[in-house]
Structure formats: structure tokens, C-alpha cells
Amino acid sequence: MSMSNPNEVLFHFIQLGLTYSVCFVVWIMLLIGLGQYLRDIYNQIRPARKSIRRLFPSHQASH
């Protein structure tokens, strides 16, 4: 693509803008969503971790 033509430069920037804005919206949403999903998983396994600690108090003390 020759950058000497102003229309082509404009078209190129519109194309880049479209690509990056779609990626930004989707990837930010996916990142936040995956963070929340992992937090939900952690909250689910936390009670289990506590009960394991209660079952093995000596293991906890050794640390």
C-alpha cells in the first residue's frame, strides 16, 4: 500500500482503529470475566481448604 495517497492512509487508520477497538472491548471483557470466574472457583474451594487445615493441624503448625 502506498502511503502517498491521503485516502489510503485514512482508510488504513480506519481499518486499524476498527480492529484494535474490537480487540480492546472483547479482550478487556474476557480478562475481567476470567478474573471473576477464577475468583468464583477460589471461593468455592476455600471452605475445602479450611476443612483440610482443620483435619491436619500438625501440617499447618510445621509451616
Binding site: 476498527l18 480487540c23 472491548v25 472483547v26 474476557l30 475481567i32 470475566g33 476470567l34 470466574y37 468464583d40
Partner: protein
Amino acid sequence: MSNQVTIDAFTPPEIAEHMENIGVKKANLDFWSMITLAILAGSFIGFGAELFTLTVTHSGLGYGLNKLVGGFVFSLGLILVVIAGAELFTGNNMIIMAWVSRKLTLGQVMRNWTIVYFGNFLGSLGLVLLMYFSRQWTFADFHIGATALNIANAKVNLSFTEGIVRGILCNILVCLAIWLCASGRSVIDKILAIIFPITAFVASGFEHSIANMYFIPMGILLRGEPNVLAAAGLTASDLVNLNFHGFVLSLISVTTGNIFGGGFMVAVVYWFIYRRPENFKARFKNGQIANIFLELFQFNRSNKAGKSEQR
């Protein structure tokens, strides 16, 4: 009369409510049901893709008609998904509607998408292996395999922007097919509602991330077959991008486009038209747009929860 029987299609506001409720049900499925249904959906879409490959090989039709017939038979995939029941990632992008209505959290949406995407991948790969071992690609003097190879090679040679834009356009049509399906009451209604949007997206050459999970791995397997290469008139140097790296890059761009097209350009748009809350306009006018987004992403709630835990 409340118990009046009707055969009229559901109206768009009824479809919108129905889609929200379906989204909640889908997101609350247990892990094993969800992954099994997702594996089924991956293989169903693979069957559509396989039939497409077979049909467009040496059909003797012109370019447009050939694509049209290919698109028509590809509808098999979504018909199986909708009528037989399965969890398809691209269709599940519509779950966003239940999220923006605050019936689901973003974490629940992401749980569904992650499990379903992985399950679709497993289902597609399983079908690729079965099709490869069936040696169906040797039919018509290896020209079935040559068509599969050409399709896969064209898909991995798309630029990033092309992948995103074709992904957006594809999932607009797929989610519109799902939307139209929800308006139907009978199996025939649903099948007819699926055929035209799916034919349109396949014939137009748009990109479907789950279909690509069949097409590209099939091409990667077939690139090592000399007879297929000879039938396609290709050499190894023509297929430099047809590898795992090209597959992953293609999936990233097409999946991003699919999420944007289905989730934002269909689900959110229809939510805004039919399901936005009464006070949305007033809050928008009062400059509370930032609060709306923060609530949606649960930043306010998690901060409050964090503070109460600290106390």
C-alpha cells in the same frame, strides 16, 4: 382466555425475554452436562463442515451456486445443535443478554464460554480424527482431500483484520439464526429459520471459529499426504502457514470477531431495544453511565464485599 392455543410465531419482545431465560439456564448447567453437550456441538458443526467439503467438490456448478449449495448443506450443523440440543460457543455468545440484564454475573458467562469452547474443540478434533481414519478424503481421486486442504489453507492465510471482520459478520448471522429459531414453535419453524442465515454466512465466506476447529486441523493432517497435495496442485511451500501456529492465530482473530458480532451486535442491541430497564435513560442523562458499567462488571459490589470482609 389464558389457555388459548396459538401457532403464531413469538414476537420479538417475547423472544428477547425467552433468550434471557435460556441464557440463565445454560449458564447454570452442571459441568459434566455442559462439557458433554459442548463436545456434541463441536462434532455436529464438524458434520456440517464435512458435508460442505463433500458437496462443493466437483459440483459442476458456477461459483455462486456452488457456494449456495455448500451453505445450504452446512445448515445441518446448526440444525443438529438446535433440534437435538447441544452447547455451541458461537450461539452461546447470546448469553451476554442475561448478563447485561444482571441475571448472570460475568464470571458465570465466562464459565459457560470457557467450558463450551473447550468442549467444542474436543468434539471437532474427535471428528477430525474419525474422518481422517475413515479415509473419506481419498474419494473422487483425492479431490475431497484437496478441497479440504484448499479451504484450510485459505483460512490460515487471512490477515488479522480479515479474520475479525469475517468473524463479526459470521456470528451476526449465526446469532440471528438462533434468534429466529426462538420465534418458532415447531421443529419445521426452527429448521426454516436456521437455513437462510446459515446459508448466507457460509456462501459469503465468513469465518466461524468452531467450524474452523474442524477445517484447519483436517487441513493440517492432510498436508502430509502426497496424493492430496498432487490433487490440489500445491507444494509444501504453498502451505507454510498451515500449521499449529497459523491455526491458533486464526482462532484468536475469528473468535474475537465472533464474540463481538454475536454478543455485542446482536445480543446487546436487542437487549437495548426490548429489555433495557425503565430508568436507563434517566441514569444516562444524569451522567451515571460510568456507574452502569461499574455495576455491570461488579466492581462496586466486589469492593463493598472486600471492605465488609476486612471489617
